[in-house]
């Protein structure tokens, strides 16, 4: 079982690739043993566009993590993102046979299968099928229907799906290294695992993971995922905007963004400038601070407004009790929480991973939220899995052909 306790999360991001090695402890906490990262190339907007280069970068990052943690990495949980990821809610239902009224494992499984019986675009594949609530004979909010008596079992599922080939690309990129892929996880779902506590999920919260290439979001109400998705805008766009607006190279723009950028407007003195140093450290171009902030502000504002529009399609945002949690690289921009508050009219804060021990520097950085979240997700899945596997194996033994 010892190997089972070791978990590795791999996030192929647009700006960098993160590998986090963690260990699940018997007391339920997770310890981070090492973090490896490498700048990412060949990835745009969360999707691989140059396979060879991306693979090289992943190899680098994995090697880095192996070195730091002094462990061999065999299998990983991979995060997938990208604007192609979509989601919806669906309800599945099963009627129990007349001679039986106790709900068993198989009925629950059948309800899940019936919930998945919806048409998604032909090129898409299911990524996650997350249970929200069960209803037994119309009784709402049942968390675990196993062993309950009833005639009709319904299950609400949140279904996340994406374009099959793009998900496969990510998997292939890892498999060719060669590493085994334990599971693929939607990045926002992974981030939410570390950013939110169970209580916050119950109260209702929105996690916005604003990374390099995409802005992923996931919304929890009553402890269940109600809405999730991704927008193909991220920190890269901000950098690109700066680079074009101020006519400076991308690398400079990126540095300017992380060092000096802010989304807050109107708190600079008129004419306040930032001096852009050139390679040799000499003072170069002078840039007006307000201009820089304006460019950043407009982009972030637009992204949030777009997000709000998507969220407004369904009404769940009004049931958020805990607030908005912003994570991912862009959350490091000063003032982004206030801007989010301004737009969504809900309290917002920048969040990083909680309830972890080990390398503190790693999990205090919101850039690692997803990778650490992958570990947390793995931990949660592994707790469930052995039992479920055992049972379903038993079932399939006894009832061949059903599964």
């Amino acid at each position: 079982m010892a190997s089972n306790d070791l978990m590795v999360g791999l996030e192929i991001g647009t700006s960098k690739i993160c590998v986090v090695v963690g260990e699940s402890r018997t007391d339920g906490t997770t310890k981070i043993l090492g973090v490896g990262q490498a700048p990412s190339r060949g990835v745009r907007k969360g999707e691989i566009v140059d396979f060879e280069t991306a693979m090289q970068c992943v190899a680098e990052a994995v090697a880095d993590a192996e070195q730091k943690s002094d462990l061999m990495i065999k299998s990983v949980y991979v995060g997938v993102g990208g604007a192609h990821i979509q989601s919806f809610n669906n309800r599945g239902s099963v009627l129990l046979p007349d001679d039986r009224d106790e709900i068993d494992e198989q009925d629950v499984e059948d309800a899940k299968i019936s919930a998945r019986e919806v048409s998604i675009p032909a090129q898409n594949a299911f990524l996650h099928c997350i249970i929200q609530h069960y209803h037994v004979d119309g009784q709402d909010g049942v968390l675990n229907p196993l062993g309950m008596l009833g005639q009709k079992l319904e299950a609400d599922y949140h279904i996340i799906h994406g374009v099959r080939t793009r998900i496969q690309n990510t998997i292939r990129c890892v498999k060719e290294l060669p590493l085994e892929v334990e599971d693929v996880v939607f990045t926002a779902l992974a981030s939410a695992q570390v950013v939110l506590s169970q209580q916050q999920k119950n109260l209702g919260a929105l996690v916005i993971d604003m990374g390099g290439g995409t802005t992923d979001y996931i919304l929890y109400v009553d402890g269940a995922v109600k809405q999730s998705g991704a927008i193909g805008i991220g920190g890269d766009h901000i950098t690109n905007d700066i680079s074009m607006g101020l006519r400076i190279p991308m690398a400079r723009a990126e540095k300017l963004k992380t060092d000096e950028g802010s989304v807050t407007l109107g708190n600079c003195l008129p004419g306040e400038t930032v001096v852009l140093k050139d390679d040799s450290g000499f003072a170069g171009k002078e840039i007006e601070r307000e201009t820089l902030n304006t460019i950043i502000h407009l982009r972030v504002r637009e992204t949030f407004e777009l997000l709000k529009k998507q969220l407004d399609e369904e009404n769940f945002i009004n049931y958020i009790g805990e607030g908005i949690f912003i994570t991912g690289g862009c959350s490091l921009l000063p003032g982004i929480d206030h801007l989010a508050e301004d737009i969504f009219e809900i309290p917002a804060r920048v969040a990083h991973a909680q309830t972890m021990s080990g390398l503190t520097s790693a999990f205090q950085n919101p850039q690692f939220a997803t990778a650490i979240g992958l570990i947390k997700y793995a931990q949660a899945v592994q707790v469930e899995r052995p039992q479920r596997r055992g049972l379903s194996r038993l079932i399939s033994k006894f009832l061949p052909g059903i599964r």
Partner: protein, 525 residues
Amino acid sequence: MTRFLSLRATGKEGNKMIQLNRNYTLPEREEDIIPIKVIGVGGAGSNVLDRVVLDGMDKSDLIAANTDVQSLASSVASAKVQLGRSITRGLGTGGDPELGFAAAEESANEVREALSDARLVFICAGLGGGTGSGAAPMVAQIAREMGALVIAFATLPFTFEGKRRSSQAQEALARLQGITDAVVCFENDRMGDLAAPKAGIHQAFALADMTVSQSVRSIVNLIQRPGIMRVGFDDLLAALRGGGGRCLFGYGESDTDNRAHEALDQALRNPLMDRGRMLEQATRVLVQVSGGPAMTLSEVEILMRELNRHISDETQLLFGTAVDGRMGNRLSVTLISSLRREDAPAATPPVRRPMETHVAPAAPQPPAEPSPQPLLAILPEQSAALEPAAQENPAVSAKTKELLPLEENSPEAAPVQQNEPEQAPAAQAAPEIEPTPAPEPVARPEPVARIIPPKKKPPLAPDYTGPKVLPHPQPEKGSREKVARQETLQFEPVTRGRFEKSEPTIVEGQDLDVPTFLRKNVRVK
């Protein structure tokens, strides 16, 4: 009568005090004080007036006018006029605008006396009821006849008050728009957002009154306050010109460290401002920044730059700033603008011409406006607003015609004959927009409604049959689109930068890979 005389005397006393206050700045400006009177008509109007009194406003006389004696008695205004002494016998009008109108007609002389000497008259009225809807237009009429400029602050009823009330209010509003120089219109439905949902109804109404009062006071201050860069009457009227649409008004005040930012923020948060979103469509925006002697240039600069983000490049800014010792540490911003009812392209007709048309129907009443200020160019829209209303509700409008002899005395065709020759030169003034100026008036089969169509799109379809007219708005639209396209074209070759080779993110027809500031046309640097 004697009461008013004594009142005017005290008013002058007040003026002297102000001279003293202003002495340190511009003593030579003393004759500039414009005699202003604020009159609250009806119950809601008196409430607003009370609020103005309580908030304290010098430099102007406050008059309450109502049919209901009880409510009049409880008003704290210094001067009071009872309307319709014999018609209503001190009771209200029971929501009947005709009665309100008749009452005002009966007491016309008293009103005239109360308003005498004023060069600027503000009318506060809640439309929808009897006195407000009926009497306010009459009061405005009287004020106009006396040569004063008239600005009305009208409150429209809540939707839940019923359709009848709101149609009465709309009708009254249209009439007010016809008579006054400008109407600042407050929609109660919007004011609902002011108060927290749990606030008591009393508080909610008080807040609404306060908003109206605040705008009255700030406009008075705007005009009266000596300015380094002064905004006057003309600017105010220019900002409100093209009325008939929504009035945008915002006022903010702050005394914190970041006061410039906060004051503007507050002004934009005014329910009439819609968070500044509407400002983008305004053609003219009046901004006045005032503060104590400690106000710095950089503060004004920060504020204006921030404001510039909310308005489009074509917007004409009427900017003014004033230093007032009594402001102390505070800094205040006043934003005034108006939107056309439809988002039609704002080809405002020249100022003076419509005034002539306005005078024409008013001719039977001898005292025509001798006012030196340019009058508002709202007539075309105003009659536009009036006409559809009349079509909807023929019974009411017939009564309106009886009651409003002034408006309808001259035959209906009269204003049109006046207008037609005007329309053509106006069109010629904007050459590329209007290629066919001549055939347009010919195509009008029926006179009155014809004034509007070029500006209003929806009513165009049912009335228009002639194919000659349709090309008129078309080229206008086309030329606008062309301009917009050209701008994006300029940037096209370089815009996507790093995302050149990736799949574009397109949402609602916009390529989001193109920098936001380019798409939003925000000038950087």
